[in-house]
Symmetry: C2
Subunit: 429 residues, 2 copies
Amino acid sequence: MTRTTAELIADRARLMGPNVATFYDDPIHFVKGSGVWLWDADGRKYLDCYNNVPHVGHCNPRVVDAICRQASTLNTHTRYLHDGILDYIDRLTTTMASSLDTAILTCTGSEANDIALRMAEAVTGKRGIIATDATYHGNTSLVSQLSKSNVPTVGFGLGQYFRFVDAPDSYRTPDLDGTIFAAKVSDQIAALEEDGTGFAALVVCPYFLNEGFPDNPDGWLKPVADVVRKAGGLLICDEVQSGFGRTGTHIWAHEKMGVVPDVVVLGKPMANGHPVGGVVAGRDIVTAFRSGYRYFNTFGGNPVSCAAAMAVLDEIEENDLVTNAKIVGDHANTRLKTLAQKYEVIGDVRGSGLIFGAELVLDRGSKAPATDFTNQIINAMRHKGIILSKLGRHKNALKIRPPMPFSIENANLLIDTLDEVLGQTSVPA
Amino acid sequence: MTRTTAELIADRARLMGPNVATFYDDPIHFVKGSGVWLWDADGRKYLDCYNNVPHVGHCNPRVVDAICRQASTLNTHTRYLHDGILDYIDRLTTTMASSLDTAILTCTGSEANDIALRMAEAVTGKRGIIATDATYHGNTSLVSQLSKSNVPTVGFGLGQYFRFVDAPDSYRTPDLDGTIFAAKVSDQIAALEEDGTGFAALVVCPYFLNEGFPDNPDGWLKPVADVVRKAGGLLICDEVQSGFGRTGTHIWAHEKMGVVPDVVVLGKPMANGHPVGGVVAGRDIVTAFRSGYRYFNTFGGNPVSCAAAMAVLDEIEENDLVTNAKIVGDHANTRLKTLAQKYEVIGDVRGSGLIFGAELVLDRGSKAPATDFTNQIINAMRHKGIILSKLGRHKNALKIRPPMPFSIENANLLIDTLDEVLGQTSVPA
């Protein structure tokens, strides 16, 4: 049926329960998507500067075609033989260091992280997991414990195994070479070893997207990787947001940050919205995990999912979307920096490729976060047909993370509109 | 690329790691599916008497069309408003008792069970979970602990919260009214309360499919439901295999077993192989779960998944597949019973609708399971173009669980071939 916005909101509460978040004060009812564009039920067009799941564009024809063709041919599971999953893993792993040669496919990034943490337990025999205090890695009982900002009250006591370190913040507390971060992780490792939990793994998004994509220079993760390896733990890089070329300089953000992880976790953009996730690791780690029991995921790695995921890699490669991310991201960053000369509220501009944004502050001296103001801007942009969001420890960073075919023209529309909105919105005293 | 069977097996080991199970001594390479039929790479046709994921038939045109249409129109997430998820939950919940009025959609049954167990923890404040000793409910760290037959060696110590009771076995240890099972659960509840863990939930497949679908009469779960409720715990019914009309008498097996669960878990057949799962529960239970934190599942309940799931409900209803399951299942059961008069090795014939099979024994007096022989039969059937499997505590029950459009003619081909294979295979002394 076709509901009005009010009816949609009422039925959500009735059928989905309470506390189901929507974006914006005035939630949007989208009915159509194509490339970097979305349309609402009233026929209004929006530029999508936020959604990374439709990595190669909303309703990408190649991905849709791959799904339709395979879904009408065969869709089974990995207990039968099929070329699709092997072709995909073969291609995927060739984009990574040679030590990352084996994969397990899942349906979500949550399932993938849930496996990654168990891999660390299997390899080290220990259970202590370290993450930053402003991250998110998924929703299973185990993995949801990684969200310190939103600590679940239920979760079978798993919180005991998790320790948090301050998220890197290049704007407020610079750590130019990553040694401060490494020292903090080292402290938590010592604490875990001392209290008997033992250290199993550090889990990080290598570009720290949820933390507000701090301006860490290339190679920044090297010191912490050394600390982790010296302590016998695993380095798990969650590339759910940062991977598949988003940063514009490398296919994987861990390459940019100068490390080869023990385990790479993949999700959201992997199949452009078709539910696919995965874990890539070295053979020994996969063996340690699988030796205990036969992990089987009914839908994981099915022929349709693999066809969709393969089409995403084809699109990235044939349209050189990594280079596009660099060119458009650089342009947008430059324009944002120009805007910062005009608006005092823009405290910091940063990002790489098609993950970029600006931190909004009440005062450049104190760097006090303009959190409410940021929320106002997001909502005003929405009413001007621009979809973006906010993130970071203070929820005051504009989060701009569009589909990868985002163009210079799209970036100009985004920045021009932001200029207009900033000019019309009064900054609190 | 197109690999030979030997190359597929070698590449699986290389790319997917060890211990990745395939069906059959001589694994099959399927390349095409349609309705109840599958084709291998050599063009050989197989009758699928096993796969329940393609519930309304392999490559069902209505489901494929729904996926293609929605995938080419819009695919986003539940942070925007959309009619699809609301239409689906509305329709799904009307097939259940009025107390089951709210739903959370996920991508897999594992994710759904992972939520269900946390709902029990949230509602009761306790963590003790009871299941049977021959079940399987999924693969997350938490949920994988429910598989006693395959206890994971890794899993963050979660095994401490799980207790097991003997799976019902109508053939060897009859329990006609379910009171013996209820008493066993009662004992485990007492043990959980005594050791301080406390009792949170009983999780069962209401038709006990993995346990070997014992011949429990309708209403059989009532006594155990009373025991669970009296102890303040939740009754979680995992309808991943038993639901969507499979038993031929009811849409949900819990109805057949005379109970209204607190939580219903859904998965595999829900969208005919598109990765969709879900949890249906009463509003208070969903609220208790969601009050702690905002559960969000990126792909869960997306427009494409909901369109696929809706098409499955349409197909079941418009083609009256529940009635078909009853008619064809009754016919197959009758023919299997006739076969049992010819072959001493068939110890028991049982099932309901399109989950049925026979338990194979070395001796009808001792009921000693003919486990190796069952394996031989399964593999011989495969070479005659019939796909089925085995299950149960002794892995000696033929597991026949075809797509729901399975016909009388299909059932006759299955039974005729089984007759032939049983006649050609010598039973061990």
